[in-house]
């Protein structure tokens, strides 16, 4: 048994290196000024070049008002929080129903709730843009939040459904037999038990929203920049190991990093996201 633990550690260590280490060169690149082929380290650093460039570069550019990083960051946060709250609010009753009831057409409903995840966002996005213009909400926060609901809602429903499935209905039954109303049973018994799952659903909804590129790109029409749409422009035109792109990548990664630390601390469970994304109750 001891040997297998050792090799497990090795496997995991290698994996940790594979997935964590690639960020290191970007940290170096973000402080570089010139890093051209075939140099293994930058030929010049940001602090050497300050003042000689026609406009601020690298971190200086990102943190200047010109880059638009501040508004993009705020937009991403605002839209992400609004989307995840709204999605959870709408998903909650549906998830409860799906977890508790069997009914005709359930499979069709489940299927319908799943389809938005795999239909190309491009498919929804173009028609949605035309609709939203008509409704006067294209290129507004409202429009983007509503657009983000499409990829987020299916996950929220799924996460919360599995939360309710894992919840033993006996507790609720007991509360009901002890005289609690349906509403009371839900609020006093069910809700506290699903709260960790709900928090995870909110965090996950936020992450999805913060990662959406195409729908934001289409609906915002260049009017509202978020971190992904901003990063897209840089990757599209950036060289490998370009300082500004590297810096932006690190900034774009920051919310996820915070999320990871938070969810570890909150749930004490490194795989909480996974547990709650299951369609099927794994215990069966």
């Amino acid at each position: 048994m001891k040997r297998s633990v050792l090799s497990s550690r090795m496997v995991l260590t290698i994996a940790a290196l594979l997935f964590g280490l690639p960020f290191l060169p970007l940290v170096v690149a973000s402080f570089s000024f010139r890093w051209h082929w075939p140099d293994l380290l930058p030929g010049a650093w940001l602090w050497d070049a300050r003042g000689t460039t026609p406009f601020p570069v690298g971190w200086d550019y990102l943190f200047s008002p010109i880059s638009g990083l501040g508004p993009a960051f705020l937009n991403t946060m605002t839209i992400g929080v609004a989307t995840s709250l709204l999605a959870a609010f709408i998903a909650l009753p549906a998830a409860y129903t799906l977890a508790r009831h069997r009914f005709r057409g359930k499979e069709a409903v489940e299927f319908f709730l799943l389809v938005p995840v795999i239909v190309p966002q491009i498919a929804v996005g173009i028609g949605m843009l035309l609709l939203f213009i008509r409704l006067g909400i294209a290129r507004t926060y409202t429009g983007i939040v509503l657009a983000h609901l499409v990829p987020t809602l299916p996950y929220s429903v799924r996460i919360l459904t599995s939360v309710f499935q894992n919840l033993d209905p006996d507790y609720e039954e007991q509360a009901r037999t002890l005289g609690a109303s349906r509403m009371q049973a839900f609020r006093r018994v069910v809700l506290p038990m699903v709260l960790p799952g709900l928090v995870t659903a909110l965090l996950f909804g936020f992450l999805i929203s913060a990662n959406v590129f195409l729908l934001t790109f289409l609906i915002s029409g260049g009017r509202l920049e978020t971190l992904p749409t901003m990063l897209f422009q840089f990757i599209e035109s950036g060289a490998p190991l370009d300082a500004t792109t590297a810096g932006l990548v690190l900034i774009v990664s920051a919310p996820g990093l915070v999320f990871l630390v938070l969810s570890d601390l909150l749930t004490g469970d490194p795989v909480a996201i996974g547990r709650t994304t299951l369609v099927q109750d794994a215990k069966q």
């Binding site: 709408i90 938005p116 909480a272």
Partner: protein, 294 residues
């Protein structure tokens, strides 16, 4: 009100918000796309409803055929690989040992960053003038950038698939880990005590129990890869693009009267992905039922 009616009502009320929101936001745009693809698109100056000519134009093109096969390739290969490696990693990391939390933090890092971050990392490392090529050049293995295998911007799509793997091995890892955490190590250890080899213990005791998790994660992974737009656009060969890339290209056609072709693409992609998902789920349900029957 009788009990059955009340139950029906509560089912209806429970589902109504989610279903109506998705109907408006999701079915509405698709219906618009359908109508435009059939020739009613005054916005593009097209009023010949109903016509199938936009569909025949799309389906008859080499471009579509190639785009379809490359979309399948870029979607399937990472799905299979990330399912295998992610599951393996989850099983390997399961041994109770110190440092799992710390190490798994790095494995989970890709999960929480946008795909675009993965694209930036792959470019920095695996471009022909990227860091890996520079190291190989420095130690004399390659003489110039052309000797480095072409990972980005090639039809092989290695760059695209690397980004997917970067994100999806951790995803599978997390999903499978969570299922594993639910079943506890006792069964497997019991099987081992009874003389089963590690592989047999995994195959007959662990695998059947984590299978639902594997189905779920692979389904989501495939679904995402099939519809991904920005990664194939940024790291693909340009021609052929994947189906979503081609769809948006059609939408940006300078010949505005041909833009309903984009809508035809959209409807075809929707049908394809919906069909694949449906078949996959149905196959899984059948398998599940047959297992339940034993």
């Amino acid at each position: 009100m009788n009990k059955a009616r009340r139950r029906q009502l509560s089912i209806f009320l429970g589902l109504a918000p989610a279903l109506s929101v998705l109907t408006v936001l999701f079915v509405g745009p698709l219906a618009l796309a359908l109508i435009q693809s059939l020739g009613y698109a005054p916005i593009f100056g097209v009023r010949e409803f109903p016509t199938l000519r936009f569909y025949t134009a799309v389906l008859g093109s080499t471009r579509f055929r190639l785009a379809f096969w490359y979309t399948m390739l870029y979607a399937l290969v990472p799905t299979v690989l990330s399912t295998i490696f992610g599951t393996w990693l989850a099983v390997a990391a399961r041994a109770r040992m110190r440092g799992v939390r710390f190490l798994s933090f790095f494995v989970r890092l890709p999960l929480v960053v946008p795909y675009l971050v993965g694209a930036a990392l792959v470019v920095a490392l695996f471009a022909n003038g990227g860091l890996v090529a520079r190291v190989l050049f420095a130690v004399g293995i390659i003489q110039n950038t052309g000797d480095f295998p072409r990972i980005l911007f090639s039809a092989g799509g290695w760059g695209i698939m690397l980004v997917y793997l970067f994100k999806q091995v951790p995803f599978t890892f997390v999903v499978v880990s969570s299922v594993l955490a639910g079943i506890g190590p006792e069964l497997q250890e019991a099987a081992r005590t009874l003389g089963a080899s590690p592989w047999r213990a995994f195959r007959h005791v662990v695998l059947p129990r984590i299978f639902p998790g594997i189905v779920t994660s692979s389904l989501l992974v495939f679904a995402f890869n099939f519809q991904s737009y920005e990664i194939p656009l940024l790291l693909g060969p340009g021609f052929p693009g994947t189906l979503p890339v081609e769809a948006l290209r059609r939408f940006q056609l300078p010949t505005i009267a041909r833009r309903p072709e984009a809508m035809a693409y959209v409807m075809i992609i929707t049908t394809l992905s919906g069909g694949i998902l449906f078949l996959y789920l149905r196959a899984y349900r059948r398998w599940e039922r047959s297992r339940g029957g034993v």
